[in-house]
Symmetry: C2
Amino acid sequence: MGQKRQIPAPSVERLCRYERCLAKAARSGMSRISSQELAALCGVTPEQVRKDLSHFGSFGRRGVGYDAAGLCEELRRILGLERKRRIAIVGIGNLGTALAGYAGFEARGFEVVGLYDNNPARVGHLVQGIRVRHIDQLATDNQRAQIDIVVLAVPESAAQAAAARVVAAGIKGILNFAPTRLKVPDHVVVRDVDMTAELECLSFWVAQAEED
Amino acid sequence: MGQKRQIPAPSVERLCRYERCLAKAARSGMSRISSQELAALCGVTPEQVRKDLSHFGSFGRRGVGYDAAGLCEELRRILGLERKRRIAIVGIGNLGTALAGYAGFEARGFEVVGLYDNNPARVGHLVQGIRVRHIDQLATDNQRAQIDIVVLAVPESAAQAAAARVVAAGIKGILNFAPTRLKVPDHVVVRDVDMTAELECLSFWVAQAEED
């Protein structure tokens, strides 16, 4: 398994994209799809598609292409999407409250099972039908709740301390919205969300539109 | 310019990533960088790097590689990052309020110049030192404010109507957080933010960690 860990993060991001494109292709009635077609749908080169998939084994047959629905299923299994994932949100300020109400999570199999904060003024409040609990309760709760991922929506200054609580509770995945690099043990996975990357891509298209 | 518009969105996303990797490489004292090195830093194949760059001209020389700082500058120009971009946030609920305080925007040259809502209970309030204005004022304000991009942080049910106001105000770019596909004229560019994609990537690493 050690070897699998070396898969580059961008490959995994592309697998997510392939999975969505394949699901769409399969829904529109496409049964077989070539690496060229999949690449074109996803905006990458066919070599990139083949290389990304090669990390996980051998899919499709030369000259025949991939079974669209089958490869999609396989990617869902590889990505760990075939079962519900249980998430908790830590930090129920504006961002955490917004995320608690984000409809998209449920639709893609992510269930919000807990909300946590260290601010007594917030603890006990109902947000999206879930009662906010104190961060001190996270470790005990997790013995029963089996949280897969914590979405960390705390201010930058509180992020490292909150991450330490998450790690101490035995949770293995953190989606970090704070613009800071968290220090965690090797067995815990952190993914940083960078809101500016989206704006930068958009800037390009806007600049293009202005030139037109 | 019509031709440039056909550049696939994923290429533009990768240019953003190349720009960050190049800036980091240049800061660490690297003066020249090969397409293989850049590809390895960014987790793509060298062919992908060369293909993405080829949309915009000819950079680097065979056997010599790229001038890291120079290519970085060039990408910043291509991406429209060499000047400040002026953004407004429409929808000052939890998400909009959180975004108004997001420190990362300023650091990457995005200046929040206005906050708008259609809820009279919110209009007039100070959020991050900016007074929330009514969406009715957006078109007039924009004649002076020259807003490049609107960050749309309204509920799904209000998104299309709000987008229409943004378009009517003459603004050309929308970063849409609502999980809905907006209808806008061709000259307006929309980018949808999907919060679940990040969680899906993270799921993979968490599943891997569980297998270890």
